[in-house]
Symmetry: C2
Subunit: 352 residues, 2 copies
């Protein structure tokens, strides 16, 4: 992140209006644009800036170049009472993910669980967005997406699988849902970029150079190392089996790179969504109360460093959301300039 002089804070609803107007300007259909806006805002509000509004210019270019279809014809087929396949017609993964997890919830209401395989999709932002949609409706939500190769294969010179995240959200009494959303790499790609910018070393055994050799120099890191070696590698592989093979899409190195592929080329990504109806297993209220107690019990464990906290997954995002919903979303100068240029080009109201 740049110096604070280079960062301004913008009101959430102003940013939201700008993002929606920008998507509208490149003719993204209203229902799609609305969900993409919500997805990008959700990431930026929760502090996941790498997957938030900074991606807007990339997405707009992808629409204008033909990669992302702004006016999709969704096809959903319910293949059994708890399963379905959803053809995204190459539109935004953000919109498709919400449509798909809603189908999962419809099936879960009837069948106890709903599993939807999405084909012909594109980048979907944070998987938390979809898992949380289920949890806010009192389901357990699971969201999986694959991605292009960036995770080093143990003992290989190069990456094969992507930084394929696993997300799970669970409703909680008197608190926003518990949400885990994590890639199986030691650090995130965004963290790597940040280390480059700040001239700091990467943590030991977090990345490797183009020969697969681990290095602390973020400037020569071309691939990230998996958590726990083969353990994290295996997690990425499981996600690719679900998101690539079970959806009929590509896997591993055959997945087109998000950036180093012409923006005219569709990515045909796969995603997988699951909703589980809690009260087919346990009374909902008791379950949610026990989730709350579990979260608090972990936070109240005895601390090794008393000046530091113990948190549970999702706590940093909840804290960011509280702050940003109140104070606004910080945007750095580079992105502000890009947004201003977009506003000028398409004659829409800028965020300033």
């Amino acid at each position: 992140m740049a110096e604070s002089d280079d960062i301004k804070v913008f009101n959430v609803s102003d940013v939201k209006d700008f993002v929606f107007a920008a998507l509208n300007a490149v003719h993204v259909r209203e229902d799609v644009a609305k969900l993409v806006t919500e997805g990008l805002l959700s990431a930026s509000i929760r502090g996941a800036d790498s997957h938030g509004i900074r991606l807007l210019p990339h997405y707009m270019a992808a629409v204008e170049s033909g990669r992302i279809n702004p006016d999709p014809q969704y096809k959903f087929e319910r293949t059994a009472s708890a399963t379905g396949v959803f053809d995204a017609d190459n539109t935004f993964g953000h919109a498709v993910g919400i449509e798909a997890i809603r189908k999962s919830m419809v099936m879960a209401r009837e069948a106890g669980a709903g599993l939807v395989a999405v084909c012909n999709s594109s980048h979907c932002g944070t998987s938390a967005f979809f898992a949380l949609e289920a949890a806010k409706n009192d389901f357990i939500g699971l969201a999986f997406t694959h991605a292009n190769a960036l995770l080093n294969t143990p003992n290989s010179t190069r990456p094969f699988f992507g930084l394929n995240p696993i997300a799970m959200a669970v409703p909680c009494e008197d608190e926003e849902p518990f949400c885990y959303d994590s890639a199986p790499s030691v650090i995130t790609w965004n963290k790597l970029l940040q280390l480059c910018q700040e001239g700091l070393d990467a943590p030991p055994y977090s990345g490797a150079d183009k020969t697969g050799t681990p290095t602390n120099d973020p400037n020569v890191i071309t691939q990230l190392l998996p958590i726990g070696g083969y353990k994290g590698f295996g997690l990425a592989m499981m996600v690719d089996i679900i998101c690539g093979l079970l959806t009929g899409m590509s896997v591993g190195r055959d997945i087109p790179d998000m950036y180093n592929t012409p923006l005219s080329q569709k990515r045909h990504l796969g995603q997988f969504y699951v909703a589980i109806k809690i009260d087919t297993f346990q009374p909902l209220k008791i379950f949610k109360e026990r989730v709350k107690k579990l979260l608090d019990d972990v936070r109240n464990e005895p601390k090794r460093n008393v000046d530091d906290e113990i948190v549970v997954p999702g706590d940093p995002e909840k804290r960011a959301a509280r702050r940003r919903l109140k104070d606004g979303i910080p945007i750095n100068k580079d992105n502000i300039n890009v947004f201003k240029a977009i506003a000028g080009k398409y004659n829409i109201k800028s965020i300033e």
Copy 2:
């Protein structure tokens, strides 16, 4: 592992007969004993010795002391077309897991997927055993169990969650199923015990002492560190939410320790099983062929160290199984002596 002088190799079918006879001797019902025998043999054949036949004496004592019910009355309730709850009546987790994943498969045949929450269970051995049962029947199988606290909570002095494994098995053309079965700790508990025996250091940041301080001395390690810090910790938490909260069982530090709890005390563990019918998503044959290609593609990636292999999760277990099915199961002197004592006490045929 002790010196090779101290290890003898025993024919698989002889070991199987001995284990079954021993369970029979403490009055484990035939259907239960058969599945427990298969579970223990499966682990020992696949090289997961920590979860294999060496646990037989512990289980026999647990039956005789009242922890494990040798003659359970199972209760299964199908709560929706894709979901059910299974009361294990405190019998062996090995037997219950197979019964439960079979229920999952019955539901998956009709509903596309089947999810079963198991309550009142006990230690189940390797989760791979249940996931593989589904994969051998051409389903994707997922198996989850929680366990007593052994995983350090980041910045806490002590463990809260167990080494809660995630297992997934997927059928594969012309090869045994792909199977991932892994706990979210840097090393396994068994590896720690082995390092103690051999007088070797533990890998950096794999374990911590009783104050939560990381140490390489295996003799003072009382808890293991999660892969990727909060990432692996979060995986263990997700599994406990599914296996504890969704089953109505205990979670975290309330789960009775396997060894340091009187053997008369039931553990009331929870497990969770999922079967997914592949051809509700993709043609089965194509899917299995693509799994095979994926496995081979990963194995054939360019190597960094050409003298070492690149493997996929499950490869070491497949290799051990090929060898042990042919040559037999290695058992060390200590275990041989224990087994001989069991044979003498119960007047059953020893493995020698």
